[in-house]
């Protein structure tokens, strides 16, 4: 054929990276290889957007390990982990805006990662440790560490939950009033500023008189500066007291609260046994300090801590609306142990999905205690890593009717089952070239405004998928991005602002 007879080949569509099989199989409208380009419009592309510094302060934070969006009651902010290599300490900071930083809120030796969920303006923080199990890298709650709560106001984070009040109080008949006569056990429950109710403490036996109210003295102010109130609890009259102060059912006494942490008395409380309706006994079963886990999530207004250092296949589930109240008896859900730790948990369509690296199960709140929630095996082959479920916008969770999950097979849509082909179908080889043992460094976010998915890869570069033409395996357009420095973590806040964190080293 002469050149004159040659038919020109027009390439007017650019649909991103295609790495499946050998290079010959790459369609003409795709790229065998590409880097640092961004797709826009229907089929155009350009260089990726630049990055700018996010902190306008004299000494910006360095060595960023993890960043999360943190919506407080008043602003959309960031919370992040900076690592000090000279002291081997992880330090949590709260980034309010470009010029205002709180922290370190929490400093923990060996904290190389952390899990986080915002709740009612507060932030719950769980230090994560990186460990090995044979040749396998695993992540668990950091040994001898706990769940922390941060008030969001720059004050230091403190351990979530808390112990019962201790000491000895006095109980005596008060002014004329009424009670059902007989032996009762009285105690006080302290309430922290975050709403946590401690186990009943100061338990004291007293025999009430029908014609009198009851008064309490020497009610020690709790040593916890976060306590804001103390509530009186009591048993109903006990016909034959056996001496076991904790062996009876406690109830909150109506209208019997010391509304501060300073007064040491509560006088002239009248009540009948029939008034005791609000049970407080379950507080005796709660963790007073909650072990750290590798993942946190919210489900049905409950906080769940997954994969503690000692128990890698359980989730600790709080009471509804009480994120720090976790029963050691029935607040536990168990994924069948298989040697692999739980890596993640996420609610979708009123169902709680829990993953391991290659397994997915579900639990459904049936109104009973969490330990009685039915477990359903969803997938015995696919799961994800600790940051492998996409967060959406600035919610820190899924807000659309599906999840985007990084599995070993690829980046998959999940709507109760993993949909195949996965949306990373076009770059299957690229994905499978990633180091599977380093998937803990993968972090994924979904930015629906930009219609882009951002994935931190184990090699500290970024993989971006543009789905402006459709979120399906054929229409999504992929491109790797790299920077002069390695990127470790990514977050999204203020609706569509993308934040990237960088560290000197990978782990």
């Amino acid at each position: 054929m002469t050149l004159r007879g040659h038919e020109p080949i027009i390439i007017d569509k650019f649909n991103g990276l295609y790495q499946r099989g050998d290079n010959d199989s790459c369609p003409l409208d795709h790229f065998q290889d590409c880097k640092n380009i961004q797709f826009y419009g229907q089929s155009a592309f350009r260089t990726r957007p630049g990055i700018d510094i996010s902190q306008d302060v004299a000494v910006p934070l360095e060595n960023i390990k993890r960043v999360y969006n943190y919506p407080t009651n008043t602003a959309n902010t960031l919370i992040l982990l900076s690592y000090d290599y000279t002291t081997n300490q992880g330090k949590i900071y709260h980034i309010v805006d470009a010029t205002n930083v709180f922290g370190p809120l929490l400093t923990v030796t060996g904290m190389v990662d952390f899990a986080f969920v915002p709740y009612a303006g507060r932030g719950y923080i769980s230090p994560i440790g990186y460990y090995t199990q044979g040749d396998l890298n695993i992540e668990k709650g950091l040994d001898n560490e706990f769940l922390y709560v941060y008030a969001g106001d720059g004050t230091a984070a403190r351990k979530a939950a808390g112990a019962a009040m201790s000491g000895t109080m006095t109980v005596a008949n008060g002014a004329a009033g009424h009670t059902d006569p007989g032996v009762k056990i009285f105690g006080f429950v302290s309430e922290t500023i975050s709403g946590y109710l401690s186990p009943p403490g100061l338990l004291t036996q007293f025999s009430t008189n029908a014609a009198f109210s009851v008064s309490f003295g020497s009610v020690d102010a709790s040593g916890d500066p976060n306590v804001v109130a103390r509530h009186l609890v009591a048993t109903k009259s006990i016909p034959a007291f056996n001496g076991d102060l904790q062996g009876y059912q406690f109830y909150f006494v109506p209208n019997a609260t010391i509304a501060n942490n300073t007064d040491t008395f509560l006088n002239n409380i009248s009540f009948y046994d029939a008034d005791l309706l609000d049970d407080a006994s379950h507080l005796l079963d709660n963790y007073t300090e909650i072990p750290a886990g590798a993942a946190l999530t919210l489900y049905h207004d409950r906080l769940i801590v997954f994969c503690t250092f000692d128990e890698i296949s359980i989730g600790l589930v709080s009471n509804e609306g009480e994120p720090e109240a976790i029963s050691q008896i029935d607040g536990i859900i168990v994924v069948p142990p298989d040697g692999n730790p739980i890596t993640n948990g996420q609610e979708l369509r009123d169902v709680l999905y829990v993953t391991k690296r290659s397994r997915t199960v579900s639990f459904a709140d049936n109104g009973d205690a969490p330990s009685a929630w039915p477990l359903v095996i969803v997938d015995n082959a696919l799961g994800t890593s600790i940051h492998g479920i996409a967060t959406v916008l600035d919610t820190g969770s899924s807000s659309v009717d599906f999840l985007i999950v990084c599995t070993y097979q690829g980046v998959s849509l999940f709507n109760g089952r993993y949909i195949t082909p996965e949306i990373s179908w076009k770059i299957e080889q690229f994905w499978k070239d990633q180091d599977r043992n380093e998937f803990r460094f993968i972090q994924i976010i979904n930015a629906p405004i930009q219609k882009e998915i951002y994935i931190i890869l184990p090699d500290r570069t970024l993989l971006v998928g543009n789905y402006a033409n459709g979120l399906d395996p054929q229409k999504i357009r992929w491109s790797p991005w790299s920077f002069a420095m390695g990127v470790n973590t990514i977050g999204i806040f203020n609706i569509d602002e993308i934040i990237i964190g960088s560290d000197l080293v990978i782990s």
């Binding site: 380009i37 934070l61 990237i500």
Partner: protein
């Protein structure tokens, strides 16, 4: 090679272990001017650290337990005298500083007049420690063996970097150690310690974080600070290597052959990156000739590499990256790392 001595500082040590509560450390005025002076010894006057004073006799050897005398120093305190010069702090040691040996000598003060007794058996011998000497703001990755002697014996002490401090720990007597019983009981009663040694400066390195990943053929300029203390003389360069860690965490090291040394003058070194370097964080290590103790290497400065960790924001439409320059408290604009694309094979 030069001489090193550790000078006396205001803060002396603490006594722990078997001697705790019996002996205390004091900061005396000098070896030859101790409260109970011994025979003067001009050679040991330099490097005087401290004096240990015991109020009572230490237990008999049969009851001896391990104990130690700890001298702890702040890294910012002027402590190291090089070649007889005024002392400088650990943090101010010239980049590339390497103490090749450190000798701890003691002298018995309480029994001046008595014949000195061989105390060798009363000292516990530990392993020789190997440490990295980290000079702030400059190079890292130095290491050296610290060897120790003690007069009359071959005891070992430890010279350690503890967080932000330095520690010299002199370990004494293990359980059941032999030696002269009566002498042991008085050994620490009025004993001074001196520390002298030698240093050497022959190697220097720095972390370089390029605005672009280093690639084969890149030209890198390295300068030394001509205004620094004894700036490096690149003209005496012997070897240069690049070290980095790949994405799998595997360390790599590659020699920069002399053929790739473009220019190496007194304060300037330009080289071409050899093939095979793919890291983004690379350590450049230079071996130079053996300088005398009075000629220390200066601080390496790189022209376009910096520590750029931190948090960033993607800015739509921005056509370059603006990075933190954490080493200099500034920012730096950098181009994108080579955007590119390769279409599928036409006709394939």
């Amino acid at each position: 090679m030069g001489t090193l001595r550790i000078t006396r500082v205001a803060a002396v040590g603490t006594v722990v272990g078997g001697l705790a509560g019996v002996c205390s450390a004091t900061n005396d005025t000098g070896w030859n001017t101790m409260t109970t002076p011994c025979t003067t010894d001009a050679a040991l006057e330099v490097g005087f650290i401290s004096r240990i004073f015991c109020t009572t006799r230490t237990p008999s050897p049969a009851a001896i337990t391990l104990g130690s005398i700890v001298f702890e120093f702040d890294q910012g305190t002027a402590l190291f005298s090089l070649d007889g010069d005024p002392a400088i702090s650990f943090n101010s040691l010239p980049s590339g500083f390497l103490a090749t040996d450190l000798t701890i000598n003691y002298k018995i003060g309480g029994h001046c007049g008595n014949a000195q007794v061989d105390m060798t058996a009363n000292f516990y011998v530990d392993d020789v420690l190997v440490h990295s000497v980290v000079n702030t703001g400059a190079a890292i990755d130095f290491s050296g063996n610290f060897t120790y002697d003690i007069c009359q014996g071959n005891d070992l002490t430890g010279f350690e970097i503890i967080g932000t401090r330095l520690k010299i720990e002199i370990v004494h007597a293990s359980a059941g150690a032999g030696g002269n019983n009566s002498a042991y009981g008085n050994f620490f009663s009025n004993t001074a310690f001196v520390a002298t040694g030698n240093y050497f400066i022959f190697r220097q390195s720095t972390i370089i974080t390029p605005t672009d990943p280093i690639e084969e053929g890149d030209t890198v300029d390295v300068t030394s600070d001509p205004d620094g203390i004894n700036p490096i003389d690149f003209s005496q360069l012997l070897t240069a290597t690049l070290d980095w860690t790949d994405s799998d965490g595997n360390p790599h090291s590659i020699n920069i052959p002399p053929i790739l040394w473009i220019t190496f003058t007194i304060h300037f070194f330009r080289f071409t990156v050899p093939a095979g370097v793919t890291g983004q964080i690379v350590i450049l290590t230079i071996t130079s000739t053996q300088f005398s103790g009075s000629v220390a290497l200066g601080k390496l400065m790189t022209i376009f590499f910096e520590n750029a960790t931190g948090i960033y924001t993607l800015v739509p439409g921005k056509t370059n990256d603006t990075l933190y320059d954490n080493d200099n408290g500034d920012t730096i604009d950098a181009k994108f790392p080579d955007p590119f694309w390769k279409t599928g094979f036409i006709g394939g």
